[in-house]
Every structure is written in C-alpha cells, then in structure tokens.
Amino acid sequence: MGSAEEDYNFVFKVVLIGESGVGKTNLLSRFTRNEFNHDSRTTIGVEFSTRTILVGDAAVKAQIWDTAGLERYRAITSAYYRGAVGALVVFDITKHQTYDVVDRWLKELYDHAEASIVVMLVGNKTDLAQAREVPMEEAKMFADNNGLLFVETSALDSTNVEEAFETILKEIFYKVQKQKERSSQSNTVSLASESPASTAPAQAERRPCCVAL
C-alpha cells in the first residue's frame, strides 16, 4: 500500500451481490488489481478490496464488499449491507436463472440497506456472447423500470469493468455532494443522515494533509 493510495477524501462502501458463480469476485479483482482468475475460490461470508479513483478533483476510495452468492448465506451476511452507499447486483448473461433472481436480491438489499443506496445492475460475462440467454434490452428495460443503473461487463476481457465502477462511484459522489449542499453540515457526509454511525464507518471525509502525519 503506497501512501498515494492512502490519500483520499471519501470512502464509499459498495457491496457486490448476486447469485453464486456469476463472477462477482473476478469483477472485483479486475477492478482493484487488474487480475482475472479462472478458478478463483468461492467467497464464504465476505471479502474486501479497495481502490481509489479520482472523481473530478476528489479522490474517492471505494471499499468494496464482495459477498457470498449462495442464498442461505444471506441470513448470516445481511449485516454486511449496513452503511453501504452503493450496490452492484450482478448476474450472468449466459444463465437466465441468475437474472431471474435479481428481484430477490433487490428485495434483500432494500430490506437491509438504506433506501438512498445507489444500485447498478450488472450483466457479466459478455465474452461468452454466443451463449447469451438474457437479452440486453430485457435487462436494460428492467433496470430502467426499477431506477437502477445498468451496464454489461466482462471481467475476463475487462470490457466495461472500469466504467461500471466509475459510473456508480460518480453517481454516489454527486448524490453526496448534492446532499452536502442541502444540509450545510461541513464535516460529516451521509446519504441517510438519520442513520447513526455504524460499526464500520462507510464513508468519511478525510483531508490528505492529515494522513501524511
């Protein structure tokens, strides 16, 4: 971890959810380490990774929580949603079943996360276009109807991965900025100001100058 990595103004907690085997872990490793692993191990519970990107002049640190996909893990992992300001709901475009359950994942998300959370629907594995089972238009329409951002990606050939994360982080950033203007609080930033500070401070403003010391 270089010190450059440590200079950031915001930390945003983003969760990755979706059925098992859709490629959540690889999306994450592609974004944070530019790596792809054909047989990356299954995620049990939750794993994390971070990367700092620039949005305008501000350095935004994305703290991404990669969760287990198996449905029954939800019972023990629902606490992971607390304090999240963004969520990527991932499905596999070559497996319709993984798209069918997006509804359930959204419900799960809204049950446990704050209502203002920014959600993006991600259709992964576009490199396997010949085996596509979910038409892009269908997913796009679903996203529009539910007020979600939408993108199709390939963690394997890195198509749109960067864009997906950048889009959602920008969206969160602007939302935060807007809210900051509304509530003229200067030091704390929260999408849902009524929520108390949780165990894991999801987003916080940090001055680079303080970090160097």
Binding site: S20, R41, I44, G45, F48, D66, L70, I76, T199
Partner: protein
C-alpha cells in the same frame, strides 16, 4: 469362477484358488480368521538374510524411492518415453478461422506406451543399508518407546526433534514411521490408543489418510454404506456443487483433473443425500478436499472421514438455518481473543473488526478455505487430536501471527489484510494453538449448541482410557450442578470475558473439601498458584465466607472514573498476578462481567468469570471463613 468348479477343469482348478476380497481395514470382520500357520513354525523364521524391503508394498517402496532422491520423470526422459518438444514446435503451421489447424502431426506423447521401465533401487537400498531388520518388524507392546532400538536409534531419536518438514523428507525416519503406522493401522481398532499416541509425534504423509480415519474413529462396512447411497439422481443442490467444484483447490493436479471433479461430485452428493437434516453450504467443498486428496482412490473412506469429521468439529454448522450456531461460535471466539490477547481484542473491537467479517470461512471450513492443502495437512494432524474447542485456539494463534499489523492498522487496512490472508507459518501456528489450549479452562469454550454428549453405551471402552483432556470434549464430561448453565445468546454477546464452571474453578484451585473427593492431586509448586480468584462482593459478604486463597476487591471501589484500577493492597496483588488466570467471582452477573471487562480494557489477559457466581460454590462447603483480621 463357476466354470472352474466344472469337472472339465478339475485338473487346473486347483491352480487357481478362488479370489476372496480381503476384508477392508475398517471392517469389523475378523481379518485373520482364515489364516493357517505352517506345521513347522520355525519355517517362518528360517531365512536369515531376508530382503525386508522387498516385503513392503509397492506404494511404500515407491514413496521411499522418491524420498531417497528418485525422480520418475527424469527416468522416463532418460528412457525417452517422455520426449519434450520446444513449445514453438507444437504450434500449427496453418490455422483456419473456425479453429481447424494443419501442419502438426498428432502428438504421440499422449498415447499409451506400455514399455516397462525398471527403476533401480540402488540408491534407496544404499540409503537404508544401516537399517536393521528389527526396524521392519517393530514390536507393538503397549509401553514400548516410540522408536525401535536399531543400531541407528540414536540418530533416529535425534531426527525426531528436527522440524516436521525435515522429518517428512528423511528416508530412514519415514521408513520407521511408515512401518510402525502400517502395523498399528492393520491392528486398528484394537491399537487405537497407540495410534493416538504416535500421531502426537507426527503422522507419516504416506499413511495420513488412513491415520486420520483411525483418529476420527471410522469403523465398519464403509464401502457397503457408501455404495448404497444414491449419487446419481439429480438433486437441487447439483447446480451449486457444479459451480463450486471447479473453484476448489484447483492449483492441485489431482483435484483439478476431470476424474477429481467427478469424485468430488460423488462424495459431496453422497454426503448431502445421506444427511437429510443438513444442507450444502458453500465451504463444504473445501472441507471435502483434504479427505478426497488423501483418499483419492478410496471415495468411501473420504466420505466416511468427512461424515465423521463434521459432527465432531462442525456440529450443526450445516443446518439450513445455522445462524444461532454460527453466532454463538463467533461470540465464544471473541471471548477467546479477549481471554488470550486483551490488547488485540480491545483494538479489534474499537475499530469494529468483528469475527463475523473474517472468521466465518475459517470455522465453517475448519481453515480448509484459507490454507493450501499442504498447510491444512499439518494443521489438521493436530486438530484431529484436539477436541471441538481446539479450533478457537487455532483462530487466536492466526490472529496473533498478524498481531503487529492488526494493531497498527484501522478497519480498512484490517479487512484488506484478511481478504488476502498473508502467509501463516503453520508449524508456529500449531505450536501456539496448543499452548493457548493449555491455558484455556475447559468450560470457557462451552457452547449450548455444541454436540450433545454421546450415550455412554457407544464409547465401548477402547477409547476413553488413554485420551487426555486435550482430546476429550468438555461436553462429553458428565454434567453436574457445578457445570456451566446455558445462557441466552444476547447475554453471551454482552460479556467480554468467558465464563468458567465452578467445577473448573475447583479443579484449577486444587481445592479439596468434604464433598469433593478427587483422585490424589498433584501438587505443583505451592508458591506459584496457577490462578487468582478475585471476589468482588463487598467486604462484609467476603468476610462471611469466601473461596480460600481469593482476594477481595469490592466492585464499587475498584476502578476510577477513567476505568483504571485504584491502588490498594488487594489490587497490588491482582497486578502481581497479571498474566495468570484471573477468575472474577461475585453475586450479580452484571457486576462480574463489568469488572472483567474493565480488566480486559486494562490489558489483563486470561480473565474469566465464575458462572453462577459465589452461589454455585456455597453448597460445596468449600468456602472458608477467615479468622478475624487485626
């Protein structure tokens, strides 16, 4: 075979004795029932200069041959059976868009070649030239020292003190261990106790699969049982198993092979189908991996081991709704961190880095999800000798290896550290877990959702005798009024330090009283008691009767507003005991727990509270009333 009985074949049939499948190692049928000794027994010991090595199985000899420096691939290359081509020469000359290629003949190296190559045993024999014949036939008397008295026994016992990794590469040492374990395993379950004893020293890698099975108490007709399970009918879990297998320990050649995947699938399915009250959780695949790897050609044994392992160490972890089991487990783990390393515990709690965020994959898979196979083997060699509380100590030992980095960092850095767990020194981890385990009172890791005690009827005598408290479970001990009571999960979560039972306290204090006739107590150095009992009731209550040797630090006057200990003679004693086990005893649970929490905040390790408080001790008649003080 039937044909041979026909009169037509009467002349030749005697040359082909009918084949009897030898009874499996773990079957209970007598294995020597049909053994006939020759009329003249002296014939058996006639030949003097026997080639003992030739009497060992080919697997063993090959294994030792490799240890002695044999390299099969090199031999095959020398014999030109493996011919390697530079990769550039394997590229096609011409390629069509649809993938058809031209210009390369079929690679012949992938075809079957039935040439027989004789491997020379010279090197191995040379290495073993000083090994006496006795080494091949060790006597299995119960009180025999572990290693045979051969001419080189001094060297061998020297080898026994070397690091495990070196012992595992030592040809002569391994020969001795393999021969010994082979004999013990052939006499299993009769020689179970001795297998346990030897396994505490180390387990020869060649026989690890069998030894683990013996440690897990696998017995009976395992093949028949496995064969009877329907592994073919599709079940809803199939999809998940298919998704998980290609991601499980795939760096290993065996487990990533198509054959490996097929075996994985069958064993996992067999387990799921045969345990209708439990379900497949991701992680079960990792748990299966070491057993499958070690018993790659014996699926039934892999299945039997896994089925024996899960109830012992992961009882009810695979329930459909397991949250109460996991939550209790993680809470006890938190208390273990506080007990053994208060400073680390304080830090982790401050930054909100709770076990839920990192320890679920550790415990749900008994560390098979976080370590590569070669580390799992060494970890489990010890884990299997321990009881179901031992994993807590492994968890604490892992945290302690990362201690400095955890203490120096905040939440963000800590979660990153654990998502990509740094190298853990497993031998050190094992050593430290054993040490932590020794410091942990048995009842401190009590869990109400742990496996209920087995009926005494089923422990058919062979086991209990020699097993130390290290391997026996707290839950297995008979319950009494002095045992721990179950406690609501929320209450448990609110307590930083573990509770211990009155039984444990009496044991640790080596108290003896009228109602407590124990086996002769070993007196350790009387000047250095193992623990300090801190009675936090007010001095009136204390003077009416207290545990002998306890000190009185009334809760109300113990701490400053900042939470520091107030200086007085009693707290000075407490300070001098810092590092030893401190048991807090009081009337009200709330106060005792708070007192313990304060001590943890002040970095006191090994703090625990007496479950049930002083009232538990009262009926035992162990309280003493001091003579009036001046």
């Amino acid at each position: 075979e039937e044909l041979l009985h026909d009169s037509l074949f009467s002349e030749v049939s005697s040359l082909y004795p009918p084949f009897h499948k030898p009874p499996g190692l773990f079957s209970s049928s007598p294995r020597c029932a049909n053994l006939t000794l020759p009329e003249d027994i002296s014939q058996l010991c006639k030949d003097e200069d026997n080639d003992y090595l030739a009497e060992r199985s080919v697997e063993e000899v090959y294994y030792l041959w490799c240890l002695a420096g044999g390299d099969l691939e090199k031999e095959l290359v020398n014999k030109e059976i493996i011919r390697s081509k530079p990769p550039i020469c394997t590229l096609p000359n011409f390629l069509l868009e649809d993938g058809e290629s031209f210009g390369q003949g079929r690679d012949r190296s992938s075809l079957l070649d039935d040439t027989t190559v004789t491997l020379s045993l010279c090197q191995l024999r040379n290495r073993l030239k000083d090994v006496g014949g006795e080494a091949f036939y060790p006597l299995l008397e119960d009180d025999q020292p572990a290693l045979p008295h051969s001419s080189s026994s001094n060297e061998l016992s020297a080898a026994a003190t070397l690091p495990l990794i070196i012992r595992e590469r030592d040809t002569e040492y391994q020969l001795n261990r393999i021969v010994l374990f082979d004999r013990l395993l052939k006499a299993y379950p009769y020689k179970k106790n001795q297998i346990w004893k030897e396994a505490r020293i180390d387990i020869p890698p060649l026989l690890r699969g069998m030894t683990w099975a013996a440690l897990l108490g696998v017995e009976g007709a395992i093949e028949a049982k496995y064969d009877a399970i329907d592994k073919d009918t599709p079940i809803p879990t199939d999809r998940q198993i298919e998704v998980d297998i290609p991601r499980c320990h795939q760096y290993d050649e065996l487990l990533s092979s198509p054959e490996g995947h097929a075996k994985f699938r069958r064993v996992l399915k067999a387990w799921v189908v045969s345990h209708p009250n439990l379900v497949y959780w991701q992680g079960l695949d990792s748990l299966c991996a070491p057993f499958l790897y070690l018993n790659f050609n014996n699926e039934a044994l892999a299945y039997a081991c896994m089925s024996a392992f899960i109830p012992k160490y992961l009882y009810n972890f695979f329930l459909k709704d397991n949250s109460h089991v996991i939550q209790e487990y993680l809470t006890v783990f938190s208390q273990m961190i506080a007990f053994h390393d208060p400073e680390l515990s304080n830090h982790l709690n401050e930054i909100g880095f709770i076990p839920d965020l990192y320890a679920i994959p550790w415990f749900l898979t008994m560390f098979t999800h976080v370590f590569p196979l070669h580390k799992i083997f060494h970890l489990w060699d010890t884990l299997l000798l321990g009881n179901s509380s031992f994993p807590f100590c492994i968890g604490v030992a892992i945290l302690q290896q990362l201690r400095d980095r955890l203490l120096a960092n905040g939440f963000n850095e800590c979660i990153l550290l654990f998502s990509d767990l740094p190298e853990i020194d497993i031998e050190r981890c094992v050593r430290e877990s054993i040490n932590l385990f020794r410091w942990t009172p048995k009842s401190a890791t009590y869990r109400q959702y742990a496996q209920p005690p087995r009926q005494p009827a089923d422990s058919s005598g062979t086991r209990s005798a020699s097993l130390s408290c290290f391997s026996a479970d707290y839950q297995e001990a008979p319950r009494s009024d002095l045992s721990r009571d179950s406690i609501k999960l929320d209450d448990l979560k609110a307590e930083v330090s573990p509770r211990i039972s009155a039984e444990d306290l009496i044991d640790l204090c080596e108290l003896t009283g009228p109602s407590h006739s124990k086996t002769p107590v070993k007196k350790t150095k009387p000047s250095k008691p193992k623990l300090l009992v801190v009675d936090i009731r007010n001095s009136e209550d204390f003077n009416r009767g207290h545990i002998s040797g306890s000190i009185n630090v009334p809760f109300a006057s113990a701490f400053t507003a900042e939470g520091d200990l107030i200086q007085c003679p009693a707290t000075a004693t407490l300070q001098s005991f810092k590092g030893r086990v401190v048991v807090i005893v009081g009337n009200a649970v709330k106060n005792t727990a708070a007192f313990a929490a304060h001590l943890v905040k002040n970095k006191y390790p090994r703090v625990c509270i007496l479950d049930g408080g002083i009232n538990k001790i009262k009926p035992t008649g162990l309280l003493t009333v001091p003579s009036p003080q001046i």
